[in-house]
């Protein structure tokens, strides 16, 4: 390689390393704000002011879903295996909302320590399989 080409290659690599480290530092500094949701464990240990909006994510505890027969009001427990938080929601749940499946609730904590959700989204995992395979795994 000629010296000119070597110099150009060095400059290009220098730009790449510079851009890479600048971005990594920025992402590292912002990492708390880049989280899309908090788990119950993140929430229970810390003091989050009442009424502050955030997203709570975890699994719907099997057997914890209670639907009000006269309205759209529903309550369920979101768990990450360590901590649980009860979520109250008045609205239409997504089709994939199931007991034992992932869920993300957007809302705020109430004085009672329960979570008032304004929006509930379903989160599915990265496993894809036909129903028969699923049944045989159980």
């Amino acid at each position: 390689m000629t010296p000119t080409r070597k110099r150009r290659l060095k400059i290009a690599l220098f730009i790449l390393i510079g851009a890479g480290s600048a971005t990594s530092l920025m992402l590292y500094a912002l990492s708390d704000n880049l989280l899309y949701f908090q788990s119950p464990s993140d929430v229970v240990g810390t003091v989050i002011p009442e009424g502050k909006r955030f997203r709570l994510g975890g699994l719907v505890q099997p057997g914890s879903v209670h639907r009000d027969p006269d309205s759209l009001t529903v309550s369920f427990v979101v768990t990450d295996g360590q901590q649980d938080i009860t979520v109250n929601f008045n609205g239409i749940l997504p089709d994939l909302f199931r007991e034992g499946q992932g869920v993300i609730a957007n809302g705020s904590l109430q004085a009672s320590g329960q979570f008032a959700a304004r929006e509930v989204l379903a989160k599915h995992d990265e496993n894809y399989m036909p129903p028969e395979v699923r049944d045989s795994l159980k």
């Binding site: 992402l27 990492s31 989280l35 899309y36």
Partner: protein, 257 residues
């Protein structure tokens, strides 16, 4: 040692030959039909298998069938950016015009794959998550990829002299590469609405084989589509750039002088 040097020399000659626009135009013209054949050979069975033969998912039902267009185009949108940056680097260091042109022709194809990724993902998100769009790490970084592609296209068009334009836009392509690991690892570094990685090159994929095979066919089809399209676009651009040169005269008029 001698065989090594001759192999190196051989590779070098081959590399230099592709650097000649006339050679590139002729050879790529011979390859393009085969690339399209490869595309159809993979895409037609892949689509049919994915849409009509693969079983429904236990949780998502049939809406998961969007995976066969979403995942191949998402991978392709990232791969094209890496290819674009690679050609831009070669163009930058060796000042090979064919490499610069190839890099610039990557951008519109990559942008199209990114648009398909974003739209198909959004149409998949509504029936499963319950939303078309959320600002989580994966979706936001893929949107940033689209803006990077648009930036490369815009920068290239803003500068009149084609070679200076390609070098300036190539610099943006090189810097933009830092977004690729962010897209890939966003689902591991941060909590996201988007699920984690399903298909892994090393280790086991968490998808049933009856669903994985059509997915892999479509992934292969996307590669052929890109290669064929990139060569066609690059041929056109070289033809226009060299319109005053002899090889273009011979090609357009079909005469050997």
């Amino acid at each position: 040692m001698t065989s090594n040097t001759s192999l190196w020399k051989h590779t070098k000659t081959w590399f230099h030959r592709w650097g000649s626009p006339a050679w590139f135009y002729r050879t790529s013209g011979l390859i393009i039909p085969w690339l399209w054949a490869g595309f159809f050979l993979l895409a037609v069975p892949g689509l049919f298998w994915g849409l009509f033969i693969a079983p429904a998912d236990y949780l998502q039902g049939d809406s998961y069938r969007i995976i066969f267009i979403h995942v191949p185009s998402a991978w392709q949108s990232m791969l094209i950016f890496a290819v674009m940056a690679g050609f831009a680097l070669i163009g930058m260091v060796w000042r090979i015009r064919v490499a610069e042109t190839l890099a610039m022709c990557c951008a519109p194809i990559g942008a199209a794959f990114t648009v398909v990724t974003l739209i198909s993902g959004s149409l998949w998100g509504k029936p499963t998550w319950g939303t078309f769009w959320q600002w989580d790490g994966r979706m936001t970084s893929e949107l940033v990829l689209l803006f990077l592609y648009l930036g490369v296209i815009g920068l290239q068009q803003a500068i009149e002299e084609p070679r200076r334009a390609a070098r300036a836009a190539g610099l943006l392509a090189l810097v933009g590469v830092v977004n690729l690991p962010i897209i890939h690892y966003s689902v591991e570094w941060w909590t996201t609405l988007h699920q984690g990685t399903t298909v892994s090159l090393l280790g086991e994929s968490s998808i049933a084989p009856s669903m994985l095979w059509p997915l892999l066919l479509m992934v292969g089809a996307a590669k052929f589509f890109f290669a064929a399209n990139l060569l066609s676009r690059t041929r056109n651009t070289l033809l226009v750039q060299d319109r005053e040169k002899n090889w273009v005269r011979e090609t357009v008029w079909g005469v050997k002088q």
